[in-house]
Subunit: 120 residues, 2 copies
């Protein structure tokens, strides 16, 4: 059984942008932290819904028909199959299946295969 | 597609203690808020791991061999099969499968069947 997790302590352990770190696993899902700045890449996930909870900063989740603006303490769930592009400087908590590939259907320099994600 | 969710706004919508409210659903899992005070009941979940993230207050998760103390910004995952008893005055975010029964294997006056949970 893992110990308790302090989000601020985990956030202090890394600086890399757009590089999700796994901080918890349960029921085939993972809890991740990610730091963002600037624009990510348009992508979607065929089989995974994805929850973005803002811890610090602000994030604009661009969808093809609108933009969802998130501040700390706000989350949004991007359903599977929906194209999205996160934009902004933020620290995020993600909750999504362990199978989730960060850039979804797109191959990109930021792609990290799910099996290669760092656990912190 | 649901809109964004503001945790503070959702917390302001209810006062009932030990009565989880569903605020998001993804991948067969649910995001819930719950307010606690005093002692809950010892129980376990046969098939569900359960994440407790403290938003406000403090929570002591009693296990049979130790107590895990959580402050705001800290979470703990109780694995399936592990007996636990949450104690304390807090507002919590829960991540767990949609099938999760709040009092697990125990029938109690606080029991709410998963299908009957309120969505807010």
């Amino acid at each position: 059984m893992e110990g308790k997790v302090n989000l601020a302590q985990k956030l202090a352990l890394f600086d890399a942008l757009w590089s999700p770190k796994v901080i918890g696993e349960l029921n085939g899902q993972q809890v991740k932290l990610v730091k963002t700045e600037g624009e990510y890449v348009w992508h979607h996930h065929d089989d995974e819904d994805e929850l973005f909870l803002v811890l610090e900063g602000r994030l604009a989740i661009h969808l093809r028909d609108r933009i969802v603006e998130l501040l700390p303490g706000e989350f949004f769930i991007v359903p599977r199959g929906i194209e999205h592009k996160p934009v902004g400087r933020a620290s995020l908590l993600l909750f999504e299946p362990a199978s989730t590939r960060n850039t979804g259907n797109v191959d990109h320099r930021l792609t990290i295969e799910a099996r290669d994600l760092e656990r912190i």
